[in-house]
């Protein structure tokens, strides 16, 4: 039987790794991969609290599961649009590096 704290600490560590990746990587694709890490950390937290809530209040806790499903859907939509934008920007600028994507610069 695993303490709740282990899940929360592991999820926090995974979230911070993803945050570091988003802030420090140059490549747009790897920024998206880091965002995926952060979303996964959130899902671990949600399911850990689902388990905690279920053992306190009995079976039939639907809300956390719906929340996790929404995170999955939004993650899939985000990756589809994000990768399409990266490919489109790559066609114009021949680079996936976010520092060199300066199309909006005045």
């Amino acid at each position: 039987m695993i303490p709740l704290s282990w899940y929360l600490i592991a999820a926090a560590a995974l979230f911070c790794i993803g945050l570091f990746g988003v802030l420090s990587r140059k490549n747009a694709v790897s920024i998206l991969m880091s965002v995926e890490l952060m979303l996964n950390a959130v899902n671990i937290n949600l399911l850990a609290f689902w388990h905690y809530h279920t053992q306190l209040q009995g079976a039939g806790q639907i809300t956390p599961q719906v929340f996790v499903a929404m995170v999955f859907i939004v993650a899939a939509a985000e990756v589809a649009v994000g990768l399409a934008l990266i490919i489109s920007a790559y066609r114009r600028r021949e680079t996936p590096v976010v520092d060199e994507m300066t199309l909006l610069k005045g």
């Binding site: 039987m1 695993i2 303490p3 709740l4 704290s5 899940y7 592991a10 995974l14 911070c16 790794i17 993803g18 945050l19 570091f20 990746g21 802030l23 420090s24 990587r25 490549n27 694709v29 790897s30 998206l32 991969m33 880091s34 995926e36 890490l37 996964n40 899902n43 671990i44 399911l47 850990a48 689902w50 388990h51 053992q55 079976a59 039939g60 639907i62 599961q65 719906v66 996790v68 499903a69 929404m70 999955f72 859907i73 899939a76 939509a77 990756v79 589809a80 649009v81 990768l83 399409a84 934008l85 990266i86 490919i87 489109s88 790559y90 066609r91 021949e94 680079t95 996936p96 590096v97």
Partner: protein, 173 residues
Amino acid sequence: MSGLQIVFLIVAVVTLFSGVMVVASRKMMHSALWLILTLLGVAILFATLQAGFFAIVQVLVYIGAISILIIFTLMLTRRVMDDEHPQVIKGWWLPAVMAVILFGLIAGFLATWEDFQVMLNELPADAENLAAFGSALVNPAGYVIPFEVASVLLLAALVGAIYIAVERKEKTR
């Protein structure tokens, strides 16, 4: 220390290590492969939480679809393959310090919660109750509106992705 705890520790260490490799490895393709290992570790963590359905969905959606999309994009954007230049910005230590501080804040804040050390006991076999979950998603008294909005969001995102990514011929006048 029980067997499940040992499994958890091994999986958590592998997941966090491969997560670090995702953000640290210099070759983008290696980074994507480490990402798959991380997602698999998260799926096993879901399974240890007795959320079997979401462990399966994690493997199907993340490993089966999202990471394949990411790998395709890596192969379509050629310059990512070069590994001579560093993949992180020059002042990378500042985000590192910020991430460590944030981790300390989250852990310190959680540690003040009285139920932080509570044990997650084994749930009865019907605790996940997928039938109730499924009917709540289409129940007007439940979550049908968020569910439908999410469906429309996904459809719109996929149509938009095709529209953005399709290669158009230059306009001839």
